[in-house]
């Protein structure tokens, strides 16, 4: 497993101590990123200023090349601010924290990390990231629990965002010509995909009336 990136630099003593105790390798945020050893997660402390922490968290989570999940270490007095920055962290821990809690949260965070892609296996479209090497898909950093056909359909659609596909085209491209099921099969799978994307992202797959489906907004 690759190292965990810690911010700010120099990192807070209590965080470093816990990471060492947990046997996790870590690098401070300014350390250069080694191409074949990508970060697997991040611990961002508000010790270097809360607004800076939010900015760093956000940029780590939304990095186009390689987003990582972020554990935010905050003080109790800062908790109220979290609600306004939901996109800056995946989980948080209130300092001073118990090492056992810190480690448990960190492990939980990393469980959801897919093995690191090198870049060209990724299809990124808005909040969606697909890794064609590992067959895994994430939306806003959350892993999706897809079946193979759901994955194949999502991959096909997301590869050409904005383009409208008829049900027939999807059937022949995703299922193959041999498939006996009719075009309703496509509708059934689209509805399942939307259910798994969740209410917030269900609209990523748009129904184009009397035509078919489109991923994302129209290009026109």
């Amino acid at each position: 497993m690759g190292p965990i990136v810690v911010s700010p630099d120099p990192p807070p003593d209590d965080v470093v101590r816990c990471l060492d105790m947990a046997g996790c390798r870590w690098v401070a945020s300014t350390a250069p990123r080694v191409a074949d050893e990508p970060w697997v997660g991040a611990v961002v402390s508000t010790e270097g200023g809360i607004d800076a922490a939010f900015d760093i968290g956000r940029s780590l989570r939304h990095d186009e090349q390689h987003a990582v999940p972020v554990l935010l270490v905050v003080r109790g007095s800062e908790l109220a601010l979290l609600a306004d920055h939901p996109d800056a962290f995946d989980d948080f821990c209130v300092a001073p924290f118990h090492p056992v809690e810190f480690e448990a949260r960190l492990r939980h965070l990393l469980v959801h990390t897919v093995s690191a892609p090198s870049g060209d296996e990724l299809i990124t479209s808005g909040p969606l990231v697909l890794n064609v090497e590992t067959y895994q898909a994430q939306i806003d950093g959350r892993l999706l629990d897809l079946t193979y056909m759901e994955y194949a359909l999502l991959k096909f659609l997301a590869s050409s965002p904005g383009r409208v596909f008829t049900r027939e085209a999807l059937l022949s491209q995703v299922w193959g010509y041999e498939y006996y099921g009719g075009a309703r099969t496509v509708d059934v799978h689209i509805r399942r995909l939307r259910a798994k994307l969740g209410e917030e992202h269900a609209a990523l797959i748009q129904t184009v009336r009397s035509v078919g489906y489109r991923f994302g907004e129209s290009r026109w």
Binding site: S115, T147, V188
Partner: protein
């Protein structure tokens, strides 16, 4: 999945996902003849072998599987049904797959309900049809599963108790989000007529996935209820004097892209195929009822006065009809035209129930059955003799009567296969005999003092 290359793709996806997501436990699911979900858990290292060779187990302890000569069967996971279950305890991710059961020599095992449905769906496919189903599943939340006391509804025992009332809608909300995360899209859900009764309507899907979905739904509903310290029951009539729980199921056949039930030029938009399908359902309804309504208790729901069907009839609006043709909006006709079968209850084995329903409908299409006239509203107020003189038939009024009809039915024997047909009758006769010899509270209340 008949195409080996497609099967390989699915299997490769499952194996890779299990590795990537560090799944610790894989549950192999199958269903016994009575419709109870069974599970064998294996570890990820065993999965590839399970795909290639199946997991061998002794089936003799499973209801409906027992045979004299050979007790072992093979469970082969269906990779297309793979689903991660992210809510497992302790943060460990588990996954499930439904299995097809084979004999040790690799032939389909006759006692496996899922193979029975596959066979019936294949028959529909040969006739050019894809069978779609969309059930409305009703159930009750109860304070406990203690059968020695009368069932306690959550929002009735304490009428003004806002907390307990809210609890049941919270439970339902949690249930729906878990269903959706499992790839089971929910169309509607709401509190039903009776106290503490709820309904979840599933968005249509092909017959096999829908039967799988119903099995999964029953588990998820009960699991979430259990987490909230209440009991969910799919028993068809748990409480006397209020509505029972049905599983009205909307059915349609698609031919390629087209809804075979729809014909814009025909009366009510119903194609000849639809009319014959309905005629098939009506003709064979009494024979298939033992399968769609398999408990002694099922027949306490099928009584007049509770919107449950009693007569064999069809109608567009009357909610006491056995088959209802929902009025669809004009622009929805091409996809929305469907028929609703209303006797079936949620304690059925969905694989077997869909099998006999489909077989009945197809028999109507293949045999060119003529559809009788729609029931007019007042047939439900007719006396028994008037009803007889008009030739209106009744559904079986007890499990015993339903079994008699089933026993004589070639259609049901053919749809289920000899093994399940015979075992089911034997098992259900014995259930009926147990019931017949039981002395009920009704009898004690009514006779003990009086006689």
């Amino acid at each position: 999945m008949s195409d080996p290359q497609e099967m390989e793709q699915h299997r490769a996806y499952v194996l890779r996902t299990i590795e990537e997501r560090r799944v610790r436990l894989i549950r192999l699911w199958f269903t016994d003849v009575l419709g109870q979900l069974k599970s064998v858990a294996i570890s990820p290292v065993e999965l590839e072998t399970a795909f290639n060779e199946g997991v061998q187990f002794d089936g003799s302890a499973i209801d409906g599987f027992s045979r004299i000569q050979e007790a072992d069967v093979l469970a082969v996971p269906d990779a297309a049904s793979f689903q991660l279950m992210a809510w497992g305890e302790g943060g460990d991710l588990s996954a499930r797959m439904f299995c097809d059961l084979l004999n040790v020599d690799g032939t389909p095992f006759a006692g496996d309900p899922r193979q029975v449905l596959r066979r019936n769906l294949a028959r529909a496919n040969e006739a050019g049809f894809q069978f779609m189903a969309s059930p409305e599943v009703e159930f009750f939340y109860l304070g406990s599963d203690d059968a020695s006391r009368p069932p306690q509804p959550l929002d009735h025992a304490s009428y003004f108790d806002l907390t307990t009332f809210d609890a049941s809608s919270d439970i339902r909300r949690a249930t729906i989000s878990r269903l959706e995360a499992t790839g089971i899209p929910v169309e509607y859900s709401f509190h039903e007529d009776a106290p503490s009764q709820h309904e979840i309507d599933l968005r249509y899907s092909d017959g096999l996935s829908m039967a799988d979905n119903i099995m999964t739904l029953r588990l998820i509903v009960r699991e979430v209820a259990f987490e909230h310290k209440v009991h969910a029951t799919f028993m068809p009539k748990p409480i006397e004097g209020v509505q029972g729980s049905g599983m009205h199921t909307h059915l349609s056949l698609f031919r390629g892209d087209d809804n075979a039930f729809w014909d814009p030029d025909a009366r009510y938009g119903l194609s000849e195929t639809a009319r014959r399908f309905i005629a098939g359902l009506l003709t064979h309804a009494p024979e298939i009822t033992a399968v769609t309504n398999q408990l002694v208790n099922s027949y306490k729901r099928l009584i007049p006065g509770f919107e449950a069907p009693v007569h064999v009839s069809w109608a567009r609006t009357n909610r006491s009809a056995l088959v209802r043709v929902p009025v669809t909006k004009a622009q929805k006709g091409p996809t929305g035209t469907r028929v609703e079968y209303r006797s079936i209850d949620p304690a059925c084995n969905p694989y077997l129930a869909f099998s006999v329903i489909l077989a009945a409908g197809l028999a109507g299409i293949e045999g060119g059955y003529e559809l009788e006239d729609e029931a007019d509203a007042n047939i439900f107020e007719l006396s028994e003799s008037e009803r007889r003189s008009r030739g209106i038939r009744l559904l079986p009024s007890s499990l015993a009567e339903a079994l008699d009809r089933m026993e004589q039915s070639e259609l049901v024997r053919d749809a289920l296969g000899d093994h399940i047909h015979e075992w089911f009758l034997r098992n259900k006769r014995s259930e009926w005999n147990d019931y017949k010899s039981a002395i009920t509270q009704f009898e004690l209340d009514r006779y003990l003092r009086a006689w």
